[in-house]
């Protein structure tokens, strides 16, 4: 069924009893051309672009829980392309362009909201660094604007501009950045992929990857064996475990990142805001809750829940930036398990096993990447060559020294 204003009116006259399920909850067939492991945003987007752009529709997405139960449904929904390095800018900008047309393309309301993302700076040196980053973005055709303190004050009068330690000195704004409704992105891709013949198989955990003579031939699952000509991993947070099923070791550690949402408030914050003197990002959802988060807990974890010191750290940063938040109550908090790669950048590549492809290492930033990640993995799987905007995201870059280290932190995953 095509969604439209007309279909909404027609359904409302029938008491909304006629809406069908948006996708089929498929049972696995015995054979597919392509099996995608992981029904998060990336896996579903890959399936959608394989079917819609590359003519490959005999595809299954195999998800151990329900789709969107991983990071896709746990993130703070920020989308932006304000990167510094030339390997990253084209990729994230291509993702931003896909976001801009996503809802029309999928016929699904993903609530993409280009409300702007402002990175605050607190020293002259940081302002210089942001000017450099803004210039790199503009050279690559991405919008960026240095904002002066007075401009920011007019927009966000409630921040602590004269904080004794971290006074606000300005900021780098990307107006085209913003937020999108994370669950709706999952559901939109699922529905559009399903409509093109993709099987979405839930409650089906991959427990093994079969390799014969160096070539992948299928996967073992809790719902039986599935044969496949090609297999693609998109299991954010569990990449090391699933890759190990094919005998691979990865330059990745799994870490927990927590996020928080406050009680609902009247409209207050009209953009995404990032504190430059600590790790804190904050936006306001359309329901009114302030959605915010900070850094990872910092130790290896698969627990999907974190500890109190990180919570205290995030709250302190919030108070330092915006003291009035002390009166606001936190409603919920949760954690998600992310792949932290050794240089802080992602991997979209083939592996040493023929027909086995990997999409991993998204660290803090994979939600914004969802459309381009799906497009690039689909391109790689269909054509056996990297998509031009993802050509740098090679698995062997750690061995060859072509690292993509935005923060210049070196091979210490918990510092990226």
């Amino acid at each position: 069924m095509r969604y439209s204003g007309f279909s909404l009116i027609a359904q409302s006259l029938k008491g909304h009893a006629g809406w069908g399920p948006a996708w089929r909850d498929a049972s696995p067939k015995s054979t597919y051309d392509v099996v995608i492991i992981g029904g998060g945003g990336h896996g579903l987007a890959t399936a959608y672009y394989l079917a819609s752009r590359y003519g490959v529709s005999n595809v299954a997405v195999i998800e151990k829980g329900y789709i969107g139960s991983g990071n896709a449904g746990r993130n703070t929904t920020i989308i932006r392309s304000n990167y510094l390095l030339s390997e990253n800018i084209p990729f994230f900008e291509s993702s931003m362009k896909l976001w801009e047309g996503l809802e029309q393309e999928l016929n699904y309301n993903a609530m993409v909201s280009q409300r702007g993302a402002l990175l605050l700076c607190h020293s002259d040196a940081q302002r210089d660094a942001f000017a450099r980053r803004g210039n790199a973005m503009r050279l690559a055709g991405v919008d960026a604007e240095i904002m002066e303190v007075e401009q920011i004050r007019a927009m966000l009068p409630f921040l602590d501009y004269e904080n004794a330690r971290f006074p606000i000195r300005g900021g780098l704004m990307q107006w085209r950045a913003g937020t999108a409704r994370h669950d709706a992105v999952v559901w939109g891709y699922a529905r559009a992929a399903d409509a093109r013949g993709v099987d979405i198989v839930q409650n089906c955990e991959v427990t093994g990857i079969s390799v014969e003579n160096g070539r992948v031939v299928g996967v073992d699952t809790t719902r039986g064996q599935i044969k496949a000509k090609k297999v693609a991993l998109a299991v954010a947070g569990n990449s090391s475990r699933v890759a190990a099923m094919a005998g691979l070791r990865l330059p990745i550690e799994s870490h927990v990142l927590q996020a928080f949402v406050s009680e609902g408030l009247k409209p207050l914050l009209n953009c995404v805001l990032t504190f430059g003197a600590g790790h804190l990002y904050i936006s306001q959802s359309d329901k009114g809750g302030l959605v915010f988060g900070g850094g990872i807990d910092g130790y290896n974890s698969y627990a999907q829940r974190g500890n109190l010191p990180t919570i205290e750290d995030v709250m302190e940063a919030a108070m330092g930036l915006w003291p009035a938040l002390g009166r606001v109550r936190v409603l919920r908090h949760w954690g998600g398990i992310m792949d932290m790669s050794m240089d802080g950048s992602p991997i979209i590549d083939h592996t040493s096993v023929q027909g086995l492809y990997i999409n991993a290492g998204w660290c803090y930033g994979g939600f914004k990447a969802t459309p381009a990640s799906g497009m690039c993995l689909a391109h790689l799987v269909a054509k056996d060559e990297p998509h031009p905007v993802a050509a740098a995201y090679r698995l062997d870059r750690f061995a060859t020294g072509r690292l993509i280290d935005e923060r210049g932190m070196g091979a210490q995953p918990n510092l990226h």
């Binding site: 569990n238 090391s240 475990r241 070791r249 990865l250 330059p251 990745i252 550690e253 799994s254 910092g298 130790y299 290896n300 974890s301 698969y302 627990a303 500890n307 109190l308 010191p309 205290e312 050794m342 750690f398 061995a399 091979a411 210490q412 995953p413 918990n414």
Partner: protein
């Protein structure tokens, strides 16, 4: 999460700094080939379950500790000073 430091007793997580997996050991001399160094610097087992790891008690005795911890439940099995570590305790 609290860590029972052998010198200071049960202390809050906030007092500790994390280095990571304790098992990689730096290849030396002629063994330090390009591929052995690559392995040491970049590749990790990243298990879901028991992991032996190095923590620094920076707000306490400032000793390095070898902690055997379950990455799925965060339960800690053992803590010993890093120089008393028996290799492969998590296996």
């Amino acid at each position: 999460m609290r860590i029972a430091c052998p010198h200071c007793g049960l202390r809050d997580l906030q007092e500790f700094t994390y280095l990571g997996d304790a098992s990689p050991s730096r290849p030396d001399g002629l063994a330090a080939t390009e591929s052995a160094m690559f392995d040491y610097v970049y590749l990790r087992e990243n298990p879901r379950g028991l992991l032996e790891e190095l923590w620094f008690h920076n707000a306490g005795c400032r000793a390095w500790l070898a902690v055997c911890r379950d990455t799925l439940t965060h339960t800690i099995q053992s803590v010993v000073p890093a120089n008393k570590r028996k290799k492969g305790a998590a296996a």
